[in-house]
């Protein structure tokens, strides 16, 4: 099974990379892109067949390593 983990900076954390990207897009004429937040994306190939187990495992892995709870939060998709 494959799990996808999306890790993003918490809203309260200033994201200079996202801001720089937004500025660059504005300079290219994309005024309609109001804001950009940059995050990380992980694909996990899991040796389970149950979606519930996959989600739990991905969650544990995200808690333990993939996300830093001080500054990041995450969400999981399983298929």
């Amino acid at each position: 099974m494959r799990a996808r983990v999306f890790v993003t900076l918490k809203p309260s954390v200033f994201d200079p990379q996202g801001k720089t990207i937004a500025d660059a897009l504005h300079a290219l004429g994309y005024g309609k892109v109001e804001d950009v937040r940059q995050g990380k994306y992980f694909e996990l190939d899991l040796a389970t067949t149950e979606a519930v187990q996959a989600r739990a495992l991905a969650s544990e892995v995200a808690d333990k390593l993939l996300a830093n709870p001080v500054i990041e939060s995450y969400r999981i998709e399983v298929d």
């Binding site: 200033f14 200079p16 720089t20």
Partner: protein, 756 residues
């Protein structure tokens, strides 16, 4: 008979194919064709350059290892060797600036530690198009980030270098990277395979499909199809290389290795066949044993892959387990992939079946060698004419140029604000230049200086080139490049000991380019002999052209010098108000090919400054002696922008202390304004501005006199302005702060960024 299109895609000519048939006594299969194509590419075989490179001086009592190995080595005393080399990664850096530059750094570092030396410093020489042109700032940013990303991560300080901006390099940036390492002279280990039955090991990253035909890409020009070549750029992993570096140095200390070589251009092919050739042996490997990170790779792909961070080792009989264990400690897997044989063949198997079999010497020593036709370029006679009288006559010949001479103050500020001369701090503060706590000066000095712990010694290193001079006169331009690199090292107080060269040129199949190359190599040879800095190795990068337009011929020279006492190191900035300013050498107001004529009049014309190599040598030896005797407080050589720029630069980073200087006039034209500019901004060679305590002046002048070096007190450190009088008339009077502002924002202003 091989399909001619297949041959062409492999960069092989029909006559080269005939040679392959003669070597093998049969048609090659596709894997063998691939192997020949990379080993006979310009990048790996040096087929266009070898006959000329053979004329370079490579001997000397201080040379421990000359050209022919992964890097050169010179004796620096106390049983130690300085191991160093410079290499190019030009074409990949244009295609993917960050990774191209990063993998260039990775490659040169491997060349150093594969010799058994711990890398202790990096330099780089970068050339781009004009910063005003679209795309240049992105290139600069990517290349600098790549060099920083790799060098900082692996923990080797980047301590200096040079950056120049010229329209000539717009489609063909130059990224030359230099690395220096230290080894015990007795511990230097070579890239050789010998001892029949000894195990051949592969260690490092897994092999993937990246970079296949990277060697052939570096041997061809760019055209509009270059965008499709993107897959040929490799991604570097500095963490993997750090592990490899530490693990290899640890293995080498056990003396369990016969030989070791890194896999760079042409990957597994190049390392196996070169190690075999050097040892007079054969090497047999089975590609199915090579760790792979992609599935379904063919022997062709495995042999040609340029995946980074991989090493090939030959292990002494009975020491295999020990070697595997040490790599295991660093979480690296050393795979036994083959054996040394005695038949002189490179034999490639796949699951036991032979898929390629070629005599080593066919791929190395007996690769084609060309003596290509040469002819002086058409443009030369015309561009060597610089009509000084017209410079101030109300009409410049270049659309971007001034029509009347600007005031000297304005000219100085323009030069200081030009990116080639201006401060490179925006760049070097991205490089960790302090890691390993050996760096004795800050970047931007001319030479980087690193101490050698456990001794009293230090090494000074510099890389220098001047494409514009070489365009106008490749022979003289090359001599000037060698002289400047050695002079920078001498200014730091170090005696120049050895050199490495990176030769960046256009398409050698064009007689004009080949002529430039040959003349430049002659110039390097003449200068290296006169200055006693033998060439210990280097790199050639040809085909630096886009749509038939070549870059300026650009030989870049790296020189290493020795300070026997690290505490004698001299830097560029004036240190104390009241110190005397002394000019060593003489100015003749030579404006040919100068930064002044380019920046003010947008012209590249004239002949480069003359140089007397004997006088240059005397000057360099004098500088070393003065430093050793602690007689001088600072030293800075005159180069781009001439004396006025040099004097100004000596006032920077001093907290605003100025200088008052008075120099003689020169008469190079009928126009006073031009003569004044020639005195201030002419780039006559073999000149250094030093400062000394007033009580040392007499001794300094006496030493200069007995060394036969012209020397005169020209001024005094003090005040808050840069004031220069020419022939008794005030010519320059600008506050130091204003000059320093122009200089420090030269590159920074292109990247001014508001971050909330």
């Amino acid at each position: 008979m091989m399909d001619p299109q297949v041959l062409e895609r492999h960069g092989l000519k029909p006559d080269e194919y005939e040679r392959i048939l003669r070597f093998l006594g049969r048609e090659p299969n596709l894997t063998e064709l691939g192997i020949f194509s990379v080993m006979w590419s310009e990048h790996c075989s040096y087929k266009s350059s070898r006959v000329h490179l053979k004329t370079l001086p490579t001997d000397g009592p201080q040379v421990l290892q000359g050209p022919g190995e992964n890097a050169g080595a010179i004796d620096i005393g106390e049983g130690l060797a300085a191991v160093f080399k410079i290499e190019s990664h030009n074409h990949p850096s244009f295609i993917e600036p960050y990774q191209g530059a990063a993998t260039g750094v990775g490659g040169i570092i491997r060349d150093i530690f594969t010799m058994g030396a711990r890398p202790i410093a990096l330099l780089n020489s970068l050339r781009f198009g004009s910063l005003d042109a679209p795309g240049t700032s992105r290139l600069l940013e990517g290349v600098v980030a790549g060099i920083a990303g790799y060098g900082n991560s692996i923990g080797i300080p980047t301590v200096g270098g040079e950056i120049a901006f010229e329209p000539s390099y717009a489609g063909n940036p130059l990224v030359n990277v230099f690395c220096l390492g230290i080894a015990k002279a007795s511990d230097i280990i070579k890239g050789v395979a010998s001892g029949v039955g000894n195990a051949v090991y592969y260690v490092g990253a897994k092999t993937g499909r990246d970079g296949i035909h990277g060697a052939t890409m570096a041997s061809a020009e760019f055209d509009d199809k270059s965008a499709e070549k993107r897959p040929a750029v490799q991604v570097g992993d500095p963490f993997m290389e750090k592990l490899l570096l530490e693990a290899c140095l640890e293995v080498m200390r056990t003396d369990a290795l016969v030989g070791i070589q890194d896999m760079g251009a042409a990957g597994l092919t190049c390392s196996t066949t070169e190690m075999g050739s050097r040892g007079g042996a054969g090497v047999e490997i089975d590609v199915s044993l090579v760790p792979q990170r992609e599935s379904g790779m063919t022997p062709y792909e495995i042999m040609l892959s340029e995946s980074q961070e991989r090493m090939l080792l030959v292990v002494k009989r009975g020491r295999e387990a020990e070697v595997e264990r040490i790599f295991g400690k660093w979480d690296l897997h050393a795979s036994h992939i083959g054996e040394v044989t005695d038949d002189g063949f490179l034999r490639v198997k796949n699951r036991g079946t032979v898929v390629a079999e070629i005599p080593n010497r066919a791929l190395t020593d007996e690769a084609p060698v060309y003596r290509r036709p040469m002819e002086p370029p058409d443009y030369l006679a015309e561009v060597q004419r610089l009509d000084l009288e017209s410079l101030d006559a109300g009409a410049s010949t270049a659309p971007g140029g001034a029509s009347i001479a600007p005031s000297s103050n304005a000219a100085l500020l323009s030069l200081l604000a030009s990116p080639t001369i201006g401060s490179k701090r925006w760049v070097y503060r991205q490089y960790d230049h302090m890691v390993r706590t050996n760096t004795l000066n800050t970047p931007g000095q001319g030479a980087g200086v690193v101490r050698i712990k456990g001794t009293d010694r230090a090494l000074a290193l510099s890389v220098d080139g001047n494409g514009r001079y070489c365009y106008l006169d490749p022979y003289r331009g090359a001599i000037l490049a060698v002289a400047e690199a050695a002079r920078n090292v001498a200014c730091a107080g170090a005696r120049p000991l050895g050199a490495t060269n990176c030769l960046n040129f256009g398409n050698p199949e064009r007689p004009a380019i080949m002529w430039q190359f040959a003349r430049a190599v002659e110039g390097i040879g003449a200068a290296c002999r006169a200055l006693d800095v033998p060439i210990t190795g280097g790199n050639v990068s040809l085909y630096n052209e886009t749509d038939g337009r070549a870059i300026y011929p650009t030989p870049v020279i790296g020189i290493v010098g020795l300070l026997e006492h690290a505490d004698r190191v001299v830097s560029r900035a004036f240190r104390k108000t009241g110190d005397a300013v002394i000019l060593l050498g003489e100015g003749r107001g030579e404006l040919g090919g100068s930064e002044y004529v380019k920046v003010v009049y947008d012209l590249v014309r004239g002949v480069p400054p003359a140089i007397d190599l004997a006088a240059e040598r005397a000057l360099q030896l004098l500088l070393v002696a003065l430093a050793d005797a602690r007689l001088i407080r600072s030293a800075h050589d005159c180069s781009d922008g001439g004396l006025a720029v040099t004097v100004a630069e000596c006032c920077f980073d001093t907290g605003g202390v100025g200088v008052e200087v008075s120099i003689g006039g020169v008469e190079v034209s009928r126009r006073a304004a031009v003569n004044c500019a020639a005195a201030l901004f002419g780039e006559s060679s073999s000149r250094v501005v030093i400062s000394a305590a007033p009580e040392s002046v007499r001794v300094v002048l006496a030493r200069a006199a007995s060394a036969g070096v012209p020397a005169a007190v020209v001024g005094r450190v003090g005040g808050t302005a840069i004031r220069i009088a020419v022939g008794g008339t005030d010519a320059i009077d600008v506050p130091v702060d204003e000059c320093e502002r122009a200089w420090s924002t030269a590159i920074e202003r292109y990247f001014a960024q508001k971050v909330a």
